[in-house]
Symmetry: C2
Amino acid sequence: MHPGWEALGDPSRLAIVQRLAERPRAVGELADELPISRPAVSQHLKVLKGAGLVVDQALGTRRVYRLSPVGLAALRDQLDTFWRRALDGYQDVVEETEESS
Amino acid sequence: MHPGWEALGDPSRLAIVQRLAERPRAVGELADELPISRPAVSQHLKVLKGAGLVVDQALGTRRVYRLSPVGLAALRDQLDTFWRRALDGYQDVVEETEESS
DNA sequence: CACGAACGTAAGCTACGACTTACGGCTGCT
DNA sequence: AGCAGCCGTAAGTCGTAGCTTACGTTCGTG
């Protein structure tokens, strides 16, 4: 149960998510397309799995990973909240910014 | 402008964004509520500004920061794309090697 | 005009995370 | 049964992000 945002913070993990968005892939497939080794991909997938962003499935001797809709929706909703709150205080440029008296 | 996701990857920066979602704040205000020093907050705000997630406004001797709707919308849209693509390959659990049973 | 408040930047240190190599565990062929 | 392909984990190295202290700058106020 990691924060979730830290999972996407790393460029390699973001690259993995982008590849998995196209289609589910095995660990070796991802390692071939990325400039990092296969163990590195495994470690990243462990983080992504801990964050609930991906799910894995044993398929023969391979392990196929794909994106988890629920995990992605959680982040999207939180980001959507930020976006809405940003629109609220958008027009009142200068208003109340004092506290102590 | 640069990473975008790396900006939100840091816990301190995420905390800043959450505070700015409530209302615009000055640098000193944020530093008082966070367990880090004021220069640290400035450095984080510089990253967030570079990512287009916040905008600043000089107000007297203080600098008021608030969230940028456009920057947040960009990340949200990309995350929303991931979410939709995740739903596509959700029901076809086994894609390959499902010919023979 | 001088002082203080608020902020950004420079310099430096420390800790953590990302990566590699090496190893062991499964699974599925022949 | 034995071998080969895939994968996760351990151990260790190294770069860098994040933090602090110190300093310079700007703006407002007496």
